[in-house]
């Protein structure tokens, strides 16, 4: 066997391997394109009422209607904007309160019962997140009627999942040493949590709450679509009365609010970390 022979051998092996990989890649791409085409056919091509779109100019004209801003709406926007902001704040605070017991149940190392209450805590986390905020709002509108209250409750319920999950994980990852020290000085259960656990988790929890609050501003902006207060309600009314310029105004207000939330949470997060 010479050196050139073994080189030729590994060259063959390499080209064979590469050919195989290329084939596999081509197959994956082919399947992806087929799948996308199937989806497009089912949703867009067969499901669209093409006759109603009525040509390029028609589409542009429809968009154009949104550009003629209805500036007369400004005075009507102020209160719902503030209400939306307040709903997000109160909903987040309430969500934090609900999250505390859920996180306590659902953190493996502090849960009062590993076999019964721990799964309950975990289930509540999943439940909160798997039900959309609009669905929560519908439930609460039917329970407590129209207005900001069902919106606040919906936001609180929807916030529990994320906040409690992150909190529970933070609790599970704490350093046990300070906990041991507080037990050793004769501290009770509350003191162990407050001195041993809380100082370790609060930066993570606060950052999460700020993030959730930021998201909740978006959520509270659409609550009104189902009658749960805030800017969404105004949006719904403009849409129903075909006042497209008004719709744009509401959207701009929402945008403004979200940018504001973004800026505030940026600075809050900096202050916490």
């Amino acid at each position: 066997m010479s050196a050139t022979d073994s080189l030729a051998g590994s060259l063959n092996l390499q080209t064979g391997l590469r050919r195989k990989r290329q084939l596999r890649l081509a197959l994956i791409w082919g399947l992806f394109i087929l799948f996308t085409a199937w989806c497009v056919n089912g949703t867009i091509i067969e499901d669209t009422d093409w006759s109603r779109i009525g040509g390029r100019s028609g589409v542009l004209a429809s968009f154009g209607r949104y550009i003629q801003l209805d500036l007369g709406l400004v005075s009507e926007l102020i209160l719902p904007t503030i209400e939306t902001f307040m709903m997000a704040c109160v909903g987040t605070v309430l969500g934090c309160f609900f999250s505390l017991p859920v996180a306590w149940l659902g953190a493996a190392n502090v849960t009062p019962s590993r076999h019964i209450l721990y799964p309950v805590g975990r289930f509540l986390m999943v439940l909160s997140r798997s039900v959309h905020e609009i669905v929560w709002a519908l439930i609460f509108v039917s329970a407590v009627g129209l207005g900001a209250l069902p919106g606040i409750l919906a936001i609180a319920m929807r916030s529990v999942g994320f906040i409690s999950k992150i909190t529970a994980e933070a609790i599970e990852n704490i350093d046990a040493k300070p906990v041991e020290a507080i037990r050793a000085v004769g501290g009770n259960q509350f003191q162990v949590m407050y001195y041993g656990i809380l100082p370790q988790i609060y930066p993570v929890v606060l950052a999460t709450v700020i993030f959730e609050w930021d998201i909740n501003i978006r959520r509270s902006a659409v609550m009104g679509l189902v009658g749960a207060g805030g800017l969404g309600l105004l949006f719904f009314r403009q849409m129903n009365s075909f006042n497209y310029g008004g719709v744009t105004m509401v959207i701009l207000a929402i945008l403004l609010l979200i940018v504001l939330g973004e800026v505030i949470s940026h600075y809050l997060r900096k202050a916490v970390i």
Binding site: E180, A184, V185, G186, G187, N188, Q191, Y195, G196
Partner: protein, 250 residues
């Protein structure tokens, strides 16, 4: 009358796990500075944690300050723990709290929930904490966060926290193994000095035999959950040490 007396102490962490302590007997008298030496894995940390039931013994009796430790209900156990100051290998401080708050946390056993919620300790506690911080040489660091200090300083905070309890017994779990040799000497000297001053006996896990010989009046040698030596420091011979560390593979 011994401050602490341990008889036939056995510990097993789980039902079928290995026995960590296999029947240990010893006493701690009023002026003892007792070292527990032995190779790692011998059960030193487990033994010391049985005294205030941070670890639950499986068998035997522990009598501490005339109380049967194993029989205590949770509230009585917490009250007993208040009398036992503990100093840890890795200091076990609350990193995000100030030195002062860490020291004050030594009083939690005497502080109600509402007061603890607002970290509202009594004026006496605060005065006491300042005194102890001066005693351990940390007067200039009172308001710093605990994680800003060096290892030696952190252990001094740990010492001050234990002193806040006005302990009747000190448990020291490898107080120097996270420290360099010079600082270790200083810390051990400080602890012994304070223990003497306050007339508090101490039970000290330590793997450094030289430090044990230098600072402790009595030594217990532990090997694989069995007591191999128990006597005054001056009676410890090299042969005893070889016996204690016989199983350690270097």
């Amino acid at each position: 009358m011994a401050v602490l007396s341990v008889r036939n102490l056995k510990v097993r962490y789980s039902g079928k796990g290995p026995e960590i302590l296999k029947g240990i007997d010893f006493d701690v008298e009023g002026d003892d500075f007792l070292a527990i030496i032995g190779p790692s894995g011998a059960g030193k940390s487990t033994l010391i944690r049985c005294v205030n039931r941070l670890v639950e013994p499986t068998d035997g009796t522990i009598t501490l300050l005339d109380q049967d430790v194993r029989a205590l209900k949770p509230r009585a156990l917490r009250e007993l723990r208040r009398d036992v100051g503990m100093i840890f290998q890795e200091f076990n401080l609350i990193n995000r709290m100030s030195v002062m708050d860490n020291v004050l946390s030594g009083r939690l056993g005497y502080t109600g929930n509402l007061r603890s919620l607002f970290r509202h300790f009594t004026k006496d506690d605060i005065r006491q904490a300042l005194d102890f911080l001066e005693r351990v040489g940390l007067s200039d660091h009172v308001d710093k966060r605990a994680d800003e200090l060096s290892g030696g300083q952190r252990q001094r905070v740990g010492i001050a926290r234990a002193l806040m309890q006005q302990p009747k017994l000190l448990l020291l779990d490898e107080p120097t193994s996270a420290l360099d040799p010079k600082i270790s000497q200083e810390v051990m000297a400080l602890i012994r000095e304070i223990a003497k001053e306050l007339r508090v006996p101490a039970l000290c896990n330590i793997h450094d035999v030289q430090l044990a010989k230098e600072f402790c009046n009595r030594i217990i040698g532990l090997q694989d959950g069995i007591k191999k030596f128990d006597g005054e420091t001056r009676t410890l011979r090299d042969a005893d040490l070889e016996d204690i560390y016989a199983m350690e593979v270097l």
